[in-house]
């Protein structure tokens, strides 16, 4: 076997190209410092036995050494080798660095940019029927932590999706499959996941009810915002309402919603301010913040001086439901009849008046020969 220096006597030439015009130049210094720097060229380029070598050489097979990774990739969404050679993520084959080396294309802080080369490309996203996730991620709380703070523990693409064996979120084995999402997020957010699993949504998911929301249903998968941020507070109520439709429509009728919708006042009660966020429990549960025994405390968080009578207020009252809210139903009915009755009478009264006045005006003008017209 020949040493690198033998090969580099030709391949160090920066302008060296093969018959097809591709560069076959190698930066010997960089290669020497890379992860594979101790290997001889022919350990990867196995078909080359002697010099001069044939014009065309067979492609390098990384799986010869990296069999596990190759097996994972073969079963993944990136199994098409022509579209996804190892170098598409790991970069130039002659300058591959360990993943904890900042020069590596798969160093945590570089992962989003590496994946984003394809997944931040609109045309590519459209072609494969995928969302263009890179911009969503990079503006998310995870993306900010990673790009602005350089936080190594901030979730990057592979923290949730894995690396070689990435599966579709429709595959039950995928960490992004709906039922697996709490566990995946729980890798970092262990406390929140424990809370969640104790709440109605977590219990339902654990029982196989796939209609219940997991982390990503409320927080989204890639465009995750800081929950205290006004933008998240503004967008969150419709998210709960996409399942709890009747509750959203009754919430819409209340002052909480009215003032919350108008902006600049994000403190107003959103669903989880009263119901809790991760450990949502039925109102009948004594631990629920909306259990009658806890209402004075829960309402009192915003409404200083809230007392037992105050908390009889119904944040989801339905003025159109005679059985549930009879007093409110009849008050609304009376007000509506008053409104309709008053306006109906006076609209007719006024229209008749208008017609009559105009009629008289025209008549008296023509009687005077139109001189006042």
């Amino acid at each position: 076997m020949r040493a690198q220096t033998d090969c580099l006597s030709c391949h160090a030439d920066q302008g060296l190209q093969d018959a097809a015009g591709h560069s076959v130049s190698v930066n010997g210094q960089k290669f020497a410092s890379s992860l594979h720097g101790s290997l001889k060229c022919t350990e990867c380029h196995t078909t080359i036995k002697e010099y001069p070598h044939p014009d065309t050489v067979t492609p390098v097979k990384c799986e010869t050494c990296h069999a596990d990774q190759a097996a994972g990739l073969a079963g993944s969404v990136h199994s098409n080798k022509a579209d996804h050679p190892c170098t598409s993520c790991h970069g130039d084959a002659h300058s591959i660095f360990p993943k904890d080396d900042p020069r590596s294309a798969v160093y945590p802080l570089n992962v989003p940019r590496t994946c984003g080369a394809c997944h931040g490309n609109d045309a590519m996203a459209k072609k494969n029927g995928l969302p263009n996730v890179y911009p969503m991620y990079i503006d998310s709380i995870h993306g900010f932590a990673l790009s602005k703070e350089g936080l190594l523990v901030a979730a990057n693409c592979q923290s949730c999706h894995g690396s070689h064996n990435i599966l579709s979120h429709k595959d039950p084995a995928s960490p992004t499959y709906k039922a697996n999402v709490p566990k995946t997020c729980g890798t970092c957010h262990a406390g929140i996941t424990a809370d969640y699993m104790g709440g109605v949504h977590g219990t339902a998911i654990a029982a196989g009810n796939m209609k219940a929301p997991v982390c990503s249903d409320c927080h989204t998968a890639h465009a995750i915002l800081q929950p205290t941020e006004s933008e998240f507070r503004m967008q969150s109520t419709p998210i709960c309402g996409s399942c709890h439709k009747d509750k959203l429509s009754t919430y819409r009728d209340t002052f909480h919603s009215q003032l919350g919708s108008l902006g600049g006042y994000v403190e107003t009660a959103r669903c989880w301010d009263c119901h809790g966020a991760h450990d949502v429990l039925p109102a009948s549960d004594p631990r629920s913040p909306v259990n009658p025994a806890n209402l004075v405390k829960t309402c009192g968080r915003c409404h200083a001086g809230a007392n037992a009578s105050f908390v009889q207020y119904q944040p989801h009252a339905n003025a159109h439901n005679r059985k549930l809210n009879p007093a409110l139903y009849f008050i609304r009915l009376f007000m509506n009849l008053l409104l309709a009755g008053t306006l109906t009478f006076f609209v007719i009264h006024t229209i008749l008046w208008l017609i009559r006045s105009r009629y008289d005006q025209i008549k008296s003008r023509s009687a005077k020969g139109g001189k006042n017209a």
Binding site: L262, G263, Y265, A304, F310, Q312, L328, T350, L354
Partner: protein, 288 residues
């Protein structure tokens, strides 16, 4: 049948020589109306975005003025000013009627309280609309004006009370049942909507925009009516004063040109704002 076409020029400003003018509203009453319509426009402009908080214009308007915080601040500010004006009016009525024992405040031809003549006038007016009878001779306050007055009076109490109940909910909850806190929003918004729809359509047309007084009846701004207008609009009041020899006591000066021009501009702006709010209300209401 009286001539009607003269009413447009009937404010008598354009060089009618020696035309006499008669006092109809005192300075205090004109100011009361000014405070009333200014705060009412403010309340409507800030209340409607809350009532129709889901509509596009409400959100645009709210964010334009600084969000909900600004909206509710102006709503409360107008509410307090209007409440004070209402109190001043109540005190005025109390002083005149109870302390000074002024006659005719609570009953009679000069009173705001409805009487049998108003019922007859209403039906007479309706008959006249249909060409079935002569136009009634209206007195100092016509039945629709009394309705306006009592509608505002009732609205002040209902909307005011329900509004303050929401503003100071924990305090009101000390003596109101919990469901009343739900009810006050329904009452406040429905009664407010009625007031807005009524004022911006019925009151505007009845008092200002109908052909006889188009584009607006200036009497509430200037306080005086020309003799010709007085005779025509309030024949009963005029003849009563004439018969009792009290007409001279009501003679007043011709309104200053600046006052007429200024209030005409203010009035026009108020009416235009009201009509825009009416259009927005109707569009949001029927889309709900």
């Amino acid at each position: 049948m009286p001539d009607l076409e003269q009413a447009t020029g009937g404010s008598g400003l354009q060089g009618h020589k020696k035309e006499r003018f008669f006092m109809r509203f005192t300075r205090a009453q004109r100011y009361l109306h000014a405070v009333l319509f200014t705060t009412f426009l403010g309340l409507a402009a800030t209340g409607l975005p809350m009532r129709f908080s889901e509509s596009y214009w409400a959100r645009k308007f709210a964010s334009g003025v600084g969000g909900f915080g600004a909206i509710i601040f102006f709503h409360k500010l107008c509410a307090v000013v209007l409440t004070l004006a209402f109190m001043v009016h109540l005190k005025d009525v109390f002083t005149r009627g109870v302390v000074n024992r002024e006659k005719g405040i609570f009953w009679g031809s000069n009173s705001m309280v409805a009487n049998w003549k108003d019922v007859k006038d209403l039906f007479g007016h309706l008959r006249w609309f249909l060409g079935l009878g002569p136009k009634p001779h209206f007195g100092r306050f016509a039945y629709w004006e009394k309705f306006d007055y009592w509608a505002v009076f009732w609205g002040m109490i209902v909307i005011g009370f329900s509004g303050y109940a929401m503003w100071f909910a924990p305090f009101f909850a000390r003596f109101l049942p919990g469901w009343a806190l739900n009810a006050v929003l329904v009452i406040h918004s429905e009664e407010g909507l009625l007031a807005i729809l009524f004022i911006f359509s019925i009151h505007f047309v009845n008092t200002h925009l109908r052909p006889d007084s188009f584009p607006m009846d200036m009497v509430i701004f200037t306080g005086v009516e020309s003799e010709e207008g007085f005779k025509k609009k309030r024949p009963e009041e005029y003849s009563k004063l004439e018969n009792e020899g009290k007409l001279a006591a009501r003679i007043s000066e011709e309104p200053a040109t600046w006052l007429v021009n200024f209030t005409r501009v203010v009035g026009t702006i108020a009416i235009l704002i009201g009509l825009v709010l009416l259009a927005l209300t109707l569009s949001a209401y029927f889309r709900e």
